[in-house]
């Protein structure tokens, strides 16, 4: 009697637990459904489309189309611009963060620039382009000021609407972004490490080479990647600055969606997939590098 009542008790307990776990899953259904519908499915749709003919058959022609000279040039331009912008942003942002956090700047200066960075890193897009046109455009304040000093900026080949002009403009949100995201890592550098190194006879550069640099490296790489992605996807600023004349990949895709330029709609999917692939590859690269740089962490 005892045995028979015990048995079903024992077998329902885990079943109940499992049922509760299944119920717990219900709690994330809205989020997952939303993400599936508006984030994952659209991406999936593009990926499939990149390998389809307009009639729905399988083809590699779209992806091969990415090798067309103008498209390949666009990708190359985008990658170079994003790399340059991310590199400048990383270096300047790191320098600024170092100056503010470890350089003994007064607290108000640090708070002020950090607050400003919160604003500036969100001040991308169209208004930023306007501000830079007013600064470095043909009639911009700085251009005119330089001209007054006998230095014709545009005669040197510089243009706000060119590669370096864009890089300089991007810097306005890249450097603050770098400052914001690298600050925790810099604050994580314990002063005792520096002091221990010094007491062991190390100079400043030696400390940075042997301890500070390696400790910061994973964070810096992560920030660089973030800045790269940030620059790679930037579209509004480019359009507001150059119209659609500067053919980075996002612009190409933008025009394709608008229904001009490209004759084959499925080539658009391939363009999108190309952008996704670049992001995937750079992320994988980052993960691999980070694993190497972080072997001393948990």
């Amino acid at each position: 009697m005892v045995a028979t009542t015990d048995l079903p008790m024992n077998s329902t307990a885990p079943r109940k637990g499992r049922a509760r776990l299944r119920l717990a899953w219900l709690g994330v259904v809205p989020f997952l459904a939303f993400a599936l519908l508006f984030l994952l499915a659209p991406l999936f749709y593009l990926v499939i489309g990149a390998f389809q003919t307009p009639e729905g058959g399988f083809t590699l022609a779209n992806m091969a189309g990415l090798a067309a000279p103008n498209i390949a040039a666009s990708f190359w331009l985008s990658i170079r611009l994003s790399l340059a912008s991310a590199a400048i942003g990383t270096v300047t942002g790191l320098l600024l963060a170092h100056a503010l956090i470890l350089g003994g700047m007064p607290g108000w200066m640090r708070r002020g620039l950090t607050a400003f960075s919160g604003v500036a890193s969100n001040f991308a897009g169209v208004p930023l382009a306007f501000a830079f046109i007013a600064t470095l455009g043909r009639l911009g304040l700085v251009t005119v000021l330089f001209k007054g000093l006998g230095f014709d900026l545009y005669a040197t080949g510089f243009s706000l609407f060119s590669f370096w002009g864009l890089a300089l403009t991007y810097l306005y949100f890249q450097m603050p972004l770098m400052l914001l995201v690298i600050t925790p890592a810099l604050e994580g550098l314990k002063p005792e490490w520096r002091e221990a190194a010094e007491s062991l006879g190390a100079s400043g550069p030696q400390y940075w080479r042997m301890v500070g640099g390696p400790v910061l490296a994973p964070s810096v790489m992560g920030c660089f990647l973030l800045l790269f992605a940030n620059a790679f996807g930037t579209l509004a600023t480019v359009i507001a600055l150059t119209g659609s004349n500067f053919s980075v990949v996002p612009i190409l895709l933008f025009q394709q969606i608008r229904g001009n330029v490209l004759y084959n709609p499925n080539l658009g999917y391939a363009l999108a997939l190309g952008m996704i692939l670049i992001m995937v590859v750079s992320n994988l690269l980052y993960i691999a590098l980070r694993a190497r740089a972080e072997r001393w962490q948990k």
Binding site: V28, F31, F44, N122, P127, T135, L235
Partner: protein, 275 residues
């Protein structure tokens, strides 16, 4: 000698800080000066007047505010329960949810909206883009996706700070129901985090260009680009206005994030004694 070394070490940082401050300040000043030059030969606020008096501006601005507000509402309703639930019941799912939330940081918005337009296009299974309402919904969905990383980060950090699991257990041992726990214990404690996420969302969506433009919405972003092509001085005025607005939003966000429990939302309504 030591003193010399200390001051020597400060000159470099001071120069860097100064250069950065200059770089940040000059474009703002330039835009400001330019925006005052609409009337020939004298300073005036004509550019601002011209912008603010335009119906197109007003409609576009109102539209964007509405869309951003809707995106905030949807984002909060989507993210808060999920973040809470995952922390409490499904910690194993955390990496997945986190990955999904951070994905929009990596995927360019133009790619995202392209996929959405095709997936919900005129001859698809759910043709959202054929009606005005549907397109607006798609716009809001796009904005929610775009702000997902920021909203999730803010809310999740807020929850990490108050140790949600222990708080929930404490409330439950005191006999509170789950709903009561959420409403009276969890929500008040993460309100600041939610508000800060909301302001971030707002500042991202208000001037957003790509999605709005590709969905043919008369929003603030496309309006600004159009204005930039048509006019000379008004764009500079808009840049200044936008910057001021972004600054205001970030200040509000900061204030919300730093608000202590018991403190009123306005400085003069403080109930808690100052430390």
């Amino acid at each position: 000698m030591m003193v010399a070394r200390k001051t020597g070490r400060r000159i470099g940082p001071a120069l860097i800080t100064l250069a950065a401050a200059l770089y940040f300040f000059v474009p703002l000043y330039a835009a400001f000066q330019f925006s005052l030059q609409m009337r020939r030969g004298e300073w005036s606020l004509d550019a601002y007047r011209s912008v603010l008096a335009s119906d197109v501006f007003l409609n576009a601005f109102l539209f964007s505010i509405t869309a951003s507000g809707a995106a905030i509402l949807c984002g909060v309703l989507l993210v808060v329960p999920t973040a809470y639930w995952v922390r409490l019941k499904l910690p194993r799912l955390r990496p997945v949810v986190e990955f999904i939330s951070l994905l929009p940081l990596i995927i360019p918005s133009v790619v995202l909206v392209f996929g959405q337009i095709r997936l919900f296009g005129s001859n698809s299974w759910l043709p959202l883009t054929t009606t005005d309402l549907g397109t607006n919904l798609l716009l809001i969905a796009g904005y929610v996706v775009l702000s997902l990383p920021y909203m999730f980060r803010a809310v999740d950090n807020g929850m990490a700070m108050i140790d949600i699991a222990t708080l929930t257990e404490a409330a439950e041992t005191l006999g509170a129901s789950r709903l009561r726990t959420i409403v009276t214990v969890i929500f008040p404690n993460i309100r600041a985090a939610i508000v800060s996420g909301a302001f971030l969302t707002f500042s991202i969506c208000l001037g957003e260009f790509v999605i709005a433009s590709l969905l043919n919405r008369q929003a603030f972003g496309p309006y600004m680009v159009q204005l930039g092509q048509d006019r000379a001085y008004e764009p500079a005025a808009l840049a200044i206005l936008s910057f001021g607005l972004t600054w205001l939003l970030m200040a509000l966000m900061q204030a919300a994030a730093q608000r202590k429990p018991g403190q009123g939302w306005l400085p003069f309504r403080n109930k808690a004694p100052r430390p």
